[in-house]
């Protein structure tokens, strides 16, 4: 069957959006199918996101916008996948598209309809805490920004009359006649990213959710905190809109609980989001807010999580109380909430809170379980999509991939990472049809306007009545005509409508305009559209400027039309002044080397090499040791109990035999030259004065891994029966007597992790220990296994290992870091003395073997970091560009990372990350040419004094000093156009195209004239 170069992505949350963008960038046409009226998913509802606390919407919205206007992403909203026929490479997908009752081509989202709609409805986006109308946009930044009618609440649909919206819509966009459509799409692969729903807290009756007004879910609390939420970010409680003084979080609501909800798994994100919510609530509160988190284990296992937790404890003063809460009682008068718990000393304590937040878990909605069944994708016992550790984004049906929370509960970085991995896997099966279905637009040749005096055309928009009803548009237009260099002025009803666009094009050509100013709405959404029009009219798109007289004028000064009109005139004047100084900017294309370098031959590195090769790219794999495999060589089983040696040997063989992969062992990188698309790296192969090899490559993936650290406590090194995790695995594999014959085994957790010198969690140890305990007890049920731990962090499905370990009789003792267990070597015997902090009693065990969960630490990555100009974090792990949204990218273009070099993680996550890195790298490599230029900085060498400040401030290493002339040079391929270097240069040697000093000064000057 013929392969099809298109992919369907089901689900428009962050995972789906990322997958869609990656695929579209690397040459595939994408259908993004979203059930809601707009894409964005749960992330769009969040306030801030851990662990960086950046604003969720700020970082999400640019991606949504990009998706919305990508030529090769077709968004189908209000749509669901009904069935999938065919097979890998060629599927027929049936999509059910529900009617919007608003013509997407006509709606300009002016909002008049919603203003006029008489029907108020609970707003699900605000979790029902606010109201919206029956005609609505999901949220203000929604993509696509088009209204939709909620049929179930629309008066017309329910009672047969009203149609107010239709009456007032200037654009005639309302269409009550729209019908459900069934669309058949032909695609090569499918990616499932339908996300999750939160556990319905009503099911756990003893917390009173649904009965007590001030018991809310964490998701509701996100909305309460959000500046765009129901209370505009004022922290108040629902019952009386009073500011709370004490808030409690109850963890694991609907997680790790088989009694009330049959969810034995851990939801993996709740600990972190609860900490986040507590810290942010404190920031939002003017008074001294008391926050208490009631938990079983604090699972802050991810990158930067532990520090986040520590800061919350130490700097923000969030209280953490290890106690499972059995019920919440409402005080009838105050509607405050009473919580009873036992403290460290086993005392029962009662506290009242003004609000209680339930940290609800993540689950797969019923509808998805049904859909999975219909399309033949199997789910695991918890209802999440089942995958293998070695193919962590492949579903049971070939050609269908999965990412995001549907694959298992997870946070945003992990979802994004998997999305790139799924995109990469989908692309790998379709490599030969890459680029066959993508659309490209052709434009007329650009008119050369050099030397022409400015001829500015100004188009003032009424935006229906959005602008015109407040701002006196004719007056503004008349005024614009008096401004210098303006040769043409026009007024439009809707500047963005297709017919107006056509007319503008004609006018630009007819009047020989060489600069265009549109006074209308925001450039953030509409600039690309108008720039497009300019291009179509043969003008360089940078000869365009906008004045935002709607969002900044008519909409926000509705009650002072005169002032608004004056302001509109000034905004137009400023835009016209700047426009006169606009210059056509050049975007040039650079060729690139379509191959990659992978550094580090562990599983991550090999997976990356393999995947790149599968996508058709040449790869050089560099390993500093004499063997491939890395840490996986010491491992026996994955956490899903798959056999690792078999997998590893297969992988090594396939890498070594792959004609597109060149492996260098005993090799290291010595020198690096160039930049994205055109790197030149020099390797030294062999020991001592080894042979030098130069590799040209377009991208590089760093997978240098990490190693187990050498413990310096618990008698390590003093007795052969005290071993590390990795040693234990090796001994067990070899059938060493120390393991085989051990009757009593003690595990000590967090050895060197979560300590001041390594303030992070090594992530794999707890699960490793629980899994080992289970195996030890399965081998010999008479054994005694003891685990000394601080928190058991068997996140997600790994909780099952913890559960089974307990069931099989493993005894867990919680210790406090102030009071660690002690290992005593006496008379040839081993003894561990500790204290159980849950029971408050001393414990002593006399094991035959002690296994220390030694921390995982990075290698010395500094030389590589310097060579590729990428940063490390305080602990020496590589630091990605953006913890949330670019988890495998570096700020420096063309350099990616995966595996343990990023942070400790299990095998399956390393593999997924490696695939993700490939997905991102391919987005660069597949383009064949690099677009550079546009809004970028440039340097004037005659003014530069070589002080180097620009180099120090550029986050993208895009500007550097030429080592010979000692003057700065901007690499247009790397520059992102932020202008930080420009404003930092005292010598005035740098300028930013499109936002130059003369242009900005001219706008300032024009304000006062």
């Amino acid at each position: 069957m013929e392969k099809v170069g298109a992919v369907l992505v089901a689900g428009g949350g962050i995972a789906g959006v990322q997958a869609a963008l990656d695929l579209a960038e690397s040459g595939y046409y994408v259908y993004l199918v979203e059930r809601n009226a707009a894409i964005g998913g749960v992330m769009s509802q969040l306030d801030k996101t851990f662990p960086t606390n950046d604003c969720s919407m700020c970082i999400l919205s640019p991606k949504l916008v990009e998706c919305g206007r990508h030529l090769n992403v077709e968004i189908l909203t209000l749509s669901e996948v009904v069935s999938i026929q065919g097979e890998e490479g060629n599927f027929q997908v049936e999509v059910l598209k529900h009617p919007r009752y608003v013509d997407e081509d006509k709606c300009v989202a002016c909002g008049v309809c919603a203003e006029k709609c008489p029907r108020k409805v609970d707003n699900p986006f605000d979790e029902g805490l606010s109201k919206r109308k029956a005609i609505y946009v999901l949220y203000p930044q929604a993509v696509p920004l088009k209204y939709a009618i909620d049929r179930d609440h629309c008066i017309y649909f329910q009672k047969g009359k009203c149609r107010a919206c239709e009456k007032f819509c200037e654009n005639k966009a309302i269409n009550f006649e729209q019908k459900e459509e069934r669309i058949r799409l032909n695609v090569g692969s499918v990616i499932l990213a339908p996300g999750f729903e939160v556990f319905d807290a009503r099911l756990i009756t003893y917390y009173g959710y649904g009965r007590f007004a001030n018991v809310v879910t964490s998701k509701e609390f996100e909305r309460i905190l959000s500046a765009s939420g129901p209370y505009q970010g004022h922290l108040v409680r629902p019952s009386d809109k009073r500011e709370p003084e004490r808030i409690a979080w109850i963890q694991c609501v609907g997680s790790r609980n088989i009694n009330q909800c049959d969810h034995s798994y851990c939801s993996a994100v709740c600990c972190m989001y609860a900490i986040k919510e507590a810290v942010i609530a404190k920031e939002h509160s003017d008074r001294l807010l008391d926050t208490a988190i009631f938990y079983m284990d604090m699972r802050t296992y991810g990158k930067e999580f532990e520090k986040y937790y520590n800061r919350a404890k130490e700097e923000s003063g969030v209280r953490f109380i290890p106690s499972r809460i059995h019920n919440v009682v409402e005080e009838p008068d105050t509607r405050n909430l009473l919580i009873r718990y036992t403290d460290n000393e086993r005392q029962v304590i009662e506290e009242t809170f003004d609000m209680v937040v339930l940290s609800v878990g993540l689950q797969t909605p019923r509808s998805l379980i049904e859909m999975a069944e219909k399309i033949g994708v199997s789910l695991d016992s918890h209802g999440f999509c089942s995958t293998s550790s070695f193919e962590p984004v492949a579903t049971s049906r070939p050609g269908i991939y999965v990412c995001g929370a549907f694959q298992g509960p997870k946070d945003i970085p992990q979802s994004v990472m998997e999305a790139s991995a799924a995109a990469s896997s989908a692309a790998a099966t379709l490599a030969e049809v890459r680029g066959t279905l993508v659309r490209e637009k052709t434009y007329p040749d650009e008119r050369n306007v050099a030397g022409e005096p400015p001829r500015i055309g100004v188009f003032v928009c009424n935006c229906g009545i959005n602008i015109g009803s407040v701002v006196n548009v004719p007056e503004v237009a008349e005024y614009a005509a008096t401004l210098p260099n303006v040769v043409f002025v026009d007024q439009n009803l809707f500047s963005c409508s297709q017919d107006t666009q056509d007319r503008m094009k004609a006018i630009i050509q007819e009047k020989k305009l060489n600069r265009v100013v549109v006074a209308s709405c925001t450039p953030r959404t509409h600039e690309p559209l108008f720039q497009e029009t300019c291009r179509e009219a043969g003008l360089n798109k940078y000869l365009f400027e906008m004045a935002n007289i709607r969002d900044q004028c008519s909409w926000v000064h509705m009650n002072s039309p005169e002032a608004a009109t004056e302001k509109a005139k000034e905004l137009v004047r400023m835009a016209v002044t700047k426009a006169a100084l606009l210059e056509p900017l050049r975007e040039v294309e650079l060729g690139l080397t379509q191959s990659a370098l992978v550094i580090g031959g562990g599983v991550a590195g090999m997976t990356a090499a393999k995947e790149l090769s599968a996508q058709g790219f040449e790869v050089v794999l560099v390993e500093k040791g004499d063997q491939l495999g890395g840490n996986a060589r010491f491992m026996r089983h994955t956490w899903k109990d798959e056999d690792i040696p078999t997998f590893l040997n297969g992988l090594i063989r396939s890498v070594e035999e792959d004609p597109r992969i060149t492996v260098y062992k005993n090799a290291q990188i010595k020198a690096v030259d160039g930049f994205v698309g055109n790197f030149k790296s020099t390797l030294v192969v062999g020991d001592g004065a080894g042979e030098e090899v130069t590799v040209e490559h377009g991208a590089v993936i760093i997978t240098t891994g990490a190693r187990e650290s050498q413990p310096s406590e618990y008698g390590y090194g003093e007795d052969p029966r005290i071993v590390t995790m990795q040693e234990f695995d090796r001994l067990a594999a070899q059938g060493d007597a120390r393991v085989k014959e051990a009757k009593t085994i003690a595990f000590i957790q967090c050895v060197g992790s979560r300590e001041p010198q390594r303030p992070y969690c090594s992530k794999v140890c707890c699960t490793h220990t629980c899994q080992s305990a289970v195996r030890l007890l399965e081998e010999n049920p008479d054994r005694e296994v003891f685990v000394f731990y601080r928190d058991i962090r068997t996140y997600g499905r790994n909780e099952d290992h913890y559960k089974v370990a307990r069931e099989k009789g493993t005894l867990f003792f919680r210790y406090d870091v102030e009071e660690k267990p002690r290992v005593i070597l006496e008379g040839g015997g081993l003894r561990v003395e500790g204290k159980d902090h849950v029971l408050g009693i001393p414990v002593t065990v006399e094991p035959d073997l002690i296994v220390l969960a030694a921390a995982i630490e990075p290698y010395d990555n500094r030389p590589l970091a310097q060579l590729y100009k990428v940063p490390l974090n305080d602990e020496g792990f590589f630091l990605e560009a953006h913890m949330k949204l670019r988890p495998v990218d570096f700020a420096t273009d063309g350099v990616f990372l995966a595996g343990l070099a990023h942070y400790p993680k299990p095998l399956d996550e390393s593999i997924a990350q490696a695939k993700a890195a490939v997905g991102r790298a391919v987005a660069v490599l597949a383009t064949q040419r690099l677009q550079v230029g546009g809004t970028v900085a440039y340097a004037d060498p005659t003014k530069c004094t070589g002080c180097g400040v620009c180099e120090m401030v550029c986050a993208y290493k895009a500007v550097h000093l030429n080592s010979e002339t000692l003057t700065s040079e901007v690499n247009e391929a790397l520059c992102k156009g932020c202008g930080t270097c420009v404003s930092s240069c005292r010598s005035g040697a740098l300028q930013l195209r499109g936002f130059s000093d003369p242009q900005i000064f001219s706008m300032i000057d024009s304000l006062s004239s």
């Binding site: 008096t482 210098p484 005659t942 006062s1008 004239s1009």
Partner: protein
């Protein structure tokens, strides 16, 4: 006898007299830690007991910044970008306490602004014509003064309208020009006694004698221009100089200016500001080319202009030996050493 006298305590009255008829009287005054020529207020007194002012009174006739034309930039107006003269009239004025070196410098400025062929400068002309100079002889010339090298002296009267000599209790006022005489006459001052005139002479002689021997920069005129220009001497001489504007801005004879347009809102002006050959920008062409690319060329220009080209053109050096540049140069560049070196 036409010499007059003003008792020390009567100085205020004398100045009040000068101010009658609406005259502005400029005199040296303390100005934020330095001494500058400023218009005296009613009943104000100049500080005459200190060595020469930090800046010469050149700023009275050739201000550091002055507007020449005004224009509108409003394209809606018919006269947009049409230059309109800034009116130049102003009151009669007297500079009281100008030193002989600075007065001689006015004559040098006259040559540049008034006598260079057809290019008479109306802005300078207007101010110069309504200005009278009442000079104060230098009883104790400073170690940095070398007016006698350049053809002047501590009691030279060239360029003055009236010469004033500090006799201690009394100021002796001797008219030099007709305008000076007329002024003194109009003020009806007491006649000076013959002994006072005598004392004045004596003081003048002593002052001159205290200055020691003069070196003569006029020998430089005879030197070959190209040889001076190409001399390796400049290489080292300029090294310490930081190329600031101190020497030239403080110099009473320097007359470079730079014409600039400045727009504020819908109006603009064309004005001129002091400039100096020491700044790279002065000779920078719009093309980016600079005929005096490095400090050496600029440094050489300053001295060649003063000591050679000006002599060639006008017969005199463009320096009156006031010593300001010597005294205030942050790098201790001493023009006297340059004169010696060039004339050697």
């Amino acid at each position: 006898m036409s010499a007059r006298r003003v008792g020390r305590e009567a100085l205020k009255g004398f100045i009040t007299g000068l101010m009658e008829d609406g005259r502005t009287v400029w005199g040296p005054q303390e100005f934020q830690g330095s001494v500058r020529f400023r218009p005296l207020k009613k009943n104000g007194t100049p500080v005459l007991d200190v060595p020469n002012a930090t800046l010469s009174p050149k700023e009275v006739v050739f201000p550091p910044s002055e507007w020449m034309f005004l224009f509108s930039t409003d394209p809606g107006r018919e006269d947009a970008f049409v230059l309109k003269e800034v009116p130049q009239e102003g009151p009669e004025q007297v500079i009281l306490g100008i030193r002989p070196c600075d007065a001689r410098a006015f004559q040098i400025l006259d040559r540049v602004f008034l006598e260079q062929g057809a290019h008479e400068d109306p802005y300078y002309r207007s101010k110069r014509d309504r200005t009278l100079l009442i000079g104060l002889g230098c009883n104790t010339p400073c170690s940095t003064c070398f007016c006698h090298w350049t053809g002047g002296g501590p009691f030279h009267t060239e360029g003055l309208d009236v010469l004033m000599t500090d006799l201690g209790d009394v100021y002796l006022l001797e008219p030099v020009t007709e305008r000076g005489r007329a002024l003194l006459d109009a003020l009806q001052l007491d006649e000076a006694g013959a002994d006072e005139v005598e004392r004045g002479k004596h003081i003048a002689e002593e002052a001159r004698a205290s200055m020691g021997e003069a070196k003569d920069p006029r020998r430089i005129k005879e030197k070959d221009l190209m040889a001076l220009f190409g001399s390796p001497f400049w290489e080292r001489a300029h090294e310490a100089c930081v190329k600031c504007g101190v020497c030239t801005y403080l110099c009473p004879t320097c007359s470079c200016f730079d014409i600039q347009d400045e727009v504020r809102g819908a109006c603009g002006f064309r004005g001129r500001n002091w400039d100096t050959c020491m700044f790279a920008l002065t000779t920078l062409h719009a093309s980016g080319h600079n005929p005096r690319p490095t400090g050496k060329e600029r440094f050489r220009q300053r001295f060649m202009h003063k000591l050679k080209y000006f002599q060639d053109d006008f017969g005199d050096v463009m320096c009156v030996g006031c010593g300001r540049c010597v005294q205030y140069c942050p790098a201790n560049i001493d023009i006297r050493e340059i004169i010696e070196a060039l004339s050697a």
